[in-house]
Symmetry: C2
Subunit: 203 residues, 2 copies
């Protein structure tokens, strides 16, 4: 999934900057409402109407802002992905800096399992074809750099690049969706499996 960047807003004569800040705030508020509705009802059940009602704005406002439901869902995935990225890059430990690398790796997997499972419908719909899946996905590249940095900090040894790919493969959105929805595994069980995997790999 490539990052969805909002259109660049060039200064317009006669339009005060204040309006742009308001627009960004309103956009962010709509996405927070959408994120809450996804958590409560699953992405498949979230409509433009429900987001409008939840944010106490007209349906037209949601359409003007995101174009259509697909546009809203893409913006939501980007919004939620960025929040997770901020958390592991600069948030509080153990997910963010300040904890030992093994603790951070355990917390990273738990966080990504939570994120991928919460938005699994959207990730499945947005999956790239195999020849672009590993090259055209900036968040995945960021996750790989983060994991390999933690493996190096923990002095794991071995082939860090390949260990990183194995760890990331076990957190793949399509695999996690299968384990949760088609095999009926709980998120707790999947997370415990990640912890065990990290402990075995890092010895």
């Amino acid at each position: 999934m490539s990052a969805h960047t909002p259109p660049v807003l060039l200064p317009v004569a006669g339009q005060p900057p204040r309006e742009r800040a308001d627009a960004a705030r309103n956009r962010s508020r709509l996405l927070d409402v959408a994120a809450r509705l996804v958590a409560e009802h699953g992405a498949a059940n979230v409509t433009m109407d429900a987001v409008a009602a939840g944010a106490a704005v007209g349906k037209g406002t949601v359409y003007r802002r995101f174009g259509d439901r697909a546009g809203l869902m893409l913006a939501l995935l980007d919004h939620a992905g960025r929040a997770f990225q901020e958390a592991f890059i600069s948030g509080p430990p153990p997910l963010g800096p300040g904890a030992p690398p093994t603790d951070r790796l355990r917390a990273f997997g738990a966080g990504l399992i939570e994120h991928h499972l919460r938005y699994r419908d959207l990730y499945l719909a947005a999956e790239l074809p195999p020849d672009r899946r590993y090259t055209d996905d900036p968040p995945r590249a960021l996750y790989a750099r983060h994991i390999s940095g933690l493996l190096a900090a923990a002095e794991t040894g071995g082939d860090t690049e390949l260990l990183t790919e194995t760890l990331l493969a076990s957190l793949d959105p399509a695999l996690l969706a299968h384990l949760r929805a088609q095999r009926g595994m709980s998120q707790e069980r999947i997370t415990a499996g990640w912890t065990d995997l990290v402990d075995r790999l890092l010895g």
Copy 2:
């Protein structure tokens, strides 16, 4: 990839059984030629013409047997997959029975890396959508049963089902194709990474 079964041949009055045995032999010979050409030139470069020439038969024979190039490639994947399955189920050790489970697991991964990389163009083209990828793929189900049986025999402990999924995910055809073709990793390096992974996971 679901198994491709040849059409059931019902006995036909006036047609001796001998003819069916001949047909099966000819079919198998054409697939052996196709497999050799894939190994030498890559699947993308194997044509119906080349298979006909390699088997010293007319092009029409190859078309009658497999319909079109896609049909030939599907039959080839099934043919090669069955050969690999026979090797790990009943072939000589360490891939087949008779070696310690850890040795068998190392050999299984090395064999599946070889198989998936050799036929990577075909596996990428035949990849199932995410909601069917883990449920409608009989060979994958067989690999999972084999791996989890070896983990149990090696008394690995932990969550065998999840460890199996992690190991299989690291052998995914799309991931291996990416590592080999887009990241330029050698098959030797990928195989060494598998051995290291098994050693770490099994302790």
